[in-house]
């Protein structure tokens, strides 16, 4: 990801769990607001219930920070309400979620190694 300096990406880390869920939902595909809420709820197995107000507050921040952008994509007008807006990740957004995933994976790996060593010592 050459377009952004590592520094620019690191500035966003760590990503809050709720934000991570939103970014993840958008990494899968472009979605409108309610679809994001549904996806987050599904993926967290009902543990995270994102409501309309908080969702848009986060979306605003993500839009302002350039991690998310509005998509021009629209389903056929007869299938969809014209007021609905769709969102997708920007390249920066993709970079941030990748970096965060890597960071968490590192943490997990570290923790597993620690566990293994402890088991070996025991």
């Amino acid at each position: 990801m050459p377009a952004f300096g590592q520094e620019a990406i690191d500035g966003f880390l760590p990503v809050k769990p709720l934000v991570y869920h939103i970014l993840l939902a958008l990494a899968e595909e472009e979605r409108h607001g309610y679809a994001i809420m549904q996806r987050v709820r599904e993926r967290s197995e009902n543990r995270l219930r994102l409501e309309t107000g908080p969702l848009y507050r986060q979306l605003k921040r993500l839009l302002d920070e350039g991690l998310v952008e509005e998509s021009e994509h629209r389903p056929a007008p007869d299938r969809d309400d014209q007021r609905r807006r769709y969102y997708r990740l920007t390249r920066l957004g993709h970079a941030v979620i990748a970096a965060e995933t890597e960071r968490m994976a590192d943490l997990v790996n570290h923790a597993r190694r620690l566990e293994d060593t402890q088991q070996a010592e025991a």
Binding site: H32, G33, E51, T52, P54, Y56, R83, R84
Partner: protein, 913 residues
């Protein structure tokens, strides 16, 4: 999102900064709608959760966003930023407090939700019915005319000649228009004749109202000319429903009353002048062909700019006097002028709405009193915390603001829940009042075309005002009282967090006001409940289960219909005679009858003479008169009290007979048998024969559900054309008749039974209003039943709130006396004495509250007369019952906390904090 949740959510969004709202408002509404839709599948709890979290987030994040925005605008004065910062802190602190005291929050929110919900419902209804405005240009200039007979005080329609003279002589109005309400028979594409509401209307009328067609044109002077080609204008609704919004319909020909009629225009959407019309036909008046005094018109006009209503009234007084001098027919006749709204909405309905609105506001007052009490109890417990904050420098204003913020949050949650409640209630109003026939309107229980009951901008603004008012009413007194407490006193003596005397005054005011208001509301509820119980007796003597009815009208020239097939009474008579016989022969029909009036729906009247009693001309009492065919009483399962029922042998050639009802017999033949006595209809020509009484029937509510003048008699249909048919049948006799059949088994097939039988005689006669007899009676009683549901809801809410409120007040004031009670107990006072002392102390306030409440109830109940069925507004039983119920409620609210206090170990009580 449905029509109401959208505006409510938009209203919540106002909490967010404008920039945020503009950017995300629409899409948030959309998303919220989806979430709400999904929640509805999960049930009521999920819907509640979605709304509550939306309200909480609106306040929390909305304030947060605003704060963030302020921070971004560095140029904003630091003071403002400080205020906002502290406001935002207040809100966050408030939310924490509400979450901490969940029981209290829930209680207070529920109370305000009830109060705000009921008040909003009534406001939306009043606003929709009265203030949303008529869909005319400058509606206040529209004036409706009737005529009044000064001698009898009776209101009469306007005659053709008076209309023509008024129009020629008046100068106050731009012009006068006229119309006649009618039933329009339209042949549907399927070939059935269908009945629709419509009017014959003068061409100038549309111009006066400012009505515009959507497609085509409205009437011109040419359409009004007698003999012009037939033309018709369709309403937007009927155009959509029956003609599939096909604009090519304009110019086509429909079969109206069996004649080809050209559609010339479609009216603009939502226009149904004067009531809720679907068709307009030209009014072809030719007053030269009618005698003076003939014809019945509704007349209205538009005041010229600058002319007042009073000036117009004065001018018409003069015109009427001139006509009186010229024509004997006009002796004692005056014009009565009313604004259009007064004529169609009417004072009865306005009064009923006003009382309902007041009752709803009273429930809100009780709710606010409850919340005030809950908050006061809590802030008193927080007196120490507040004193500490004051001691370290918080200003009194700052503390009041903190407390008010908390109250506002409660009120806001209450408003959201209340709106949801109001939404349901307004829907209920729409369906049960309007469709259930509950409207006491001057022109019958039909919803007026401009009515629109919705919770939109204005009702929402009203809710906002209610929310703020409730905040102030419920929050200000506790906030001021607590914040003004003696700081050092409280800090020195922790155990006296609340001083007895302050609680006392507050408690006194609450007990008195809650009881007074609850008495008023409960009496209103009690009266309407009693009235509903009374209505259950209506129709008691009738067996209605298997009876289906239909109202059928034959074309009649007097209504402007082409009546070629029914030129005279004999032709009409033959139609009904044939119909009732054919119906009786159908399989599954046990008995069939034709009548001018069904039981409980009212009837015509006639002046009568009783042989050997009152044969002088002056003394001729007016009684109820109904024409029925032979099987009338059998069809309704009514047995004769004495004598016989009508039968096929009662014919034109045989002895003229009648059946009288029980009240008639009691009044005119007290103590003797009425059988074979004779009565006579007094008609102008004196040609009606003496009628021999052959039977006595039960009363059967011949004067309608109220049945104020129950005495009446029946004439056999087979003899209806004897003597003076006009006097026997009334004006519309043999034009509109009612059919009733008693069937074996199900009523489901009855409508098609009526239709096929009628069209086997004449395919152009439409059958309308096919209803089970049970429903016919139910609709007559609708106005009494539907209102009682509203008043019972208010009464129940008020009683529940009062019970919680009184218990809360008394429990709190007793608990603040726990130490004192402990000392008394330690000194040997028994439980009963302690309880007695608590009860005696409260008793005085209870009596004052009930006294004020009784006065309030008397004032309220006077306005209920219109919707009470055989219950006087000052019914002693209801008043006594309500007072007894409230005395009991208050005693429970006193005794329970008192006993609890008395059970505490004195040693603990003295240490009680």
């Amino acid at each position: 999102m449905n029509s109401t949740s959208g505006p409510i959510y938009r209203w919540l969004l106002l909490a967010y900064p404008r920039s945020f709202r503009e950017r995300f408002g629409d899409t948030m509404c959309e998303t919220f709608g989806d979430a709400l839709h999904a929640a509805r599948q999960e049930g009521l709890a999920a819907v509640g959760r979605v709304w509550i979290s939306a309200a909480v987030h609106a306040v929390r994040f909305g304030a947060g966003e605003r704060f963030a925005e302020i921070k971004r605008r560095a140029s904003v004065a630091k003071d403002a930023s400080m205020t906002l910062r502290s406001l935002s802190a207040d809100i966050r602190y408030g939310i924490r407090m509400l979450m901490k005291h969940r029981g209290l929050t829930l209680n207070a929110v529920a109370a305000l939700a009830l109060g705000i919900g009921l008040t909003t419902t009534m406001f939306s209804i009043v606003y929709g019915a009265v203030f949303r405005g008529l869909p005319f240009e400058r509606p206040d200039e529209l004036v409706h005319f009737e005529r009044e007979n000064l001698e009898t005080g009776r209101q009469m329609a306007v005659t053709y000649h008076d209309y023509a003279d008024w129009r020629a002589q008046q100068t106050s109005f731009v012009d006068l228009g006229a119309f006649v309400e009618a039933v329009i028979h339209v042949k549907s594409p399927r070939g059935h004749a269908e009945r629709n509401d419509g009017v014959f209307i003068s061409h100038a009328s549309f111009g006066l109202m400012g009505a515009r067609p959507l497609i085509g044109r409205l009437f011109s002077a040419e359409d009004d000319r007698p003999g012009a080609p037939n033309t018709i204008v369709l309403s937007h609704a009927i155009w959509q429903r029956q003609f599939g919004s096909d604009s090519a319909i304009v110019g086509r020909t429909l079969q109206i009353h069996g004649e080809g009629t050209t559609v010339i225009g479609i009216m603009a959407r939502g226009f149904g002048f004067p009531i809720a019309e679907q068709f307009w036909l030209p009014l072809r008046l030719d007053h030269n062909r009618v005698e003076r005094g003939g014809g019945r018109l509704d007349v209205f006009g538009r005041l010229k700019p600058g002319v007042t209503f009073e000036q117009a009234v004065a001018e018409f007084e003069g015109i009427a006097k001139r006509l009186e001098l010229e024509y004997p027919v006009n002796a004692g006749v005056r014009a009565t002028l009313k604004t259009f709204r007064d004529e169609y909405v009417g004072q009865d309905f306005m009064n009923t709405l006003r009382i309902m609105f007041i009752v709803a506001v009273l429930v809100l007052v009780v709710a606010c009193a409850n919340v005030a009490n809950l908050l006061f109890a809590r802030t008193s417990r927080r007196a120490t915390e507040i004193a500490v904050r004051t001691a370290i420098g918080a200003s009194r204003a700052r503390i009041i603001r903190q407390l008010l913020t908390e109250t506002f949050l409660i009120a806001l949650l209450g408003a959201v829940a209340g709106l949801a409640l109001a939404n349901l209630a307004v829907d209920w109003f729409q369906s049960s009042m309007i469709e259930g026939g509950g409207l006491p309107l001057p022109h019958g229980p039909v919803a007026l075309f401009w009515w629109d009951f919705r919770i939109d901008a204005v009702p929402l603004a009203f809710v906002l005002i209610l929310t703020l008012t409730s905040t102030l009413v419920a929050g200000l007194v506790p906030a001021i009282k607590t914040s003004g407490a003696d700081v050092s006193g409280i800090l020195k003596d922790n155990s006296r967090g609340s001083s007895g005397s302050r609680v006392g005054r507050m408690a006194k005011a609450l007990i008195i006001s809650e009881l007074a208001v609850t008495t008023g509301v409960l009496v209103a509820a009690g009266l309407t409940v009693k009235s509903v119980l009374q209505t259950m007796t209506v129709g008691r003597d009738l067996s209605t289960d298997q009876v289906m009815t239909a109202r059928i009208g034959l074309p009649d020239r007097r209504m402007g219909l082409h009546d070629a097939n029914y030129p005279d009474l004999n032709a009409r008579f033959r139609f009904w005679d044939q119909l009732v016989h054919r119906l009786a022969d159908q399989p599954g029909v046990l008995s069939a009858t034709v009548t001018t009036n069904l039981p409980v729906t009212g009837s015509g009247s006639a002046r009568i003479a009783v042989e050997g009693m009152n044969e002088s001309e002056e003394d001729s009492p007016s009684v109820r008169r109904v024409v029925v065919s032979a099987n009338f009483f059998e069809t309704f399962g009514v047995g004769m009290i004495q004598g016989r029922s009508f039968n096929e042998r009662d014919q034109v050639g045989s002895e003229p007979v009648t059946i009288v009802n029980q009240s008639f017999a009691d009044r005119f033949f007290p103590g003797t048998s009425p059988l074979f006595r004779r009565i006579k209809i007094r008609d102008a020509e004196g040609q009606d024969p003496w009628l021999t009484v052959v039977g006595v029937a039960p009363d059967l509510w011949m004067d309608g559900p109220r049945n104020r003048d129950p005495e009446g008699f029946y004439i056999p249909f087979t003899q209806s054309l004897m003597g003076n048919p006009q006097a026997r049948l009334g004006f519309w006799g043999l034009t509109f008749m009612n059919i009733a059949v008693r069937v074996r088994g199900d009523l489901v097939d009855a409508p098609s039974l009526f239709r096929t039988t009628v069209s086997s005689i004449d395919g152009d006669v439409p059958v309308s209003t096919v209803r089970p007899m049970r429903e016919v009676i139910g609709q007559r009683l609708g106005r009494y039943r539907v209102y009682s549901i509203f008043f019972m809801a208010c009464g129940g809410a008020a009683l529940l709130l009062a019970l919680i409120g009184l218990y809360g007040v008394l429990a709190f004031s007793v608990s603040s006396r726990t130490a004192e009670i402990g000392i008394r107990m330690a000194l040997g006072s028994g439980t009963s004495r302690v309880v007695r002392s608590v009860v005696t102390q409260a008793a005085r306030h209870i009596v004052v509250g009930l006294g004020i409440g009784t006065l309030l109830a008397l004032w309220l109940s006077r306005g209920l007369n219109q919707i009470l069925y055989q219950v006087e507004p000052w019914d002693a039983g209801v008043f006594a019952g309500v007072v007894a119920l409230l005395v009991m409620t208050s005693l429970i609210a006193c005794i329970v906390p008192a006993r609890r206090a008395a059970r505490i170990d004195p040693a603990d009580a003295v240490r009680y904090d």
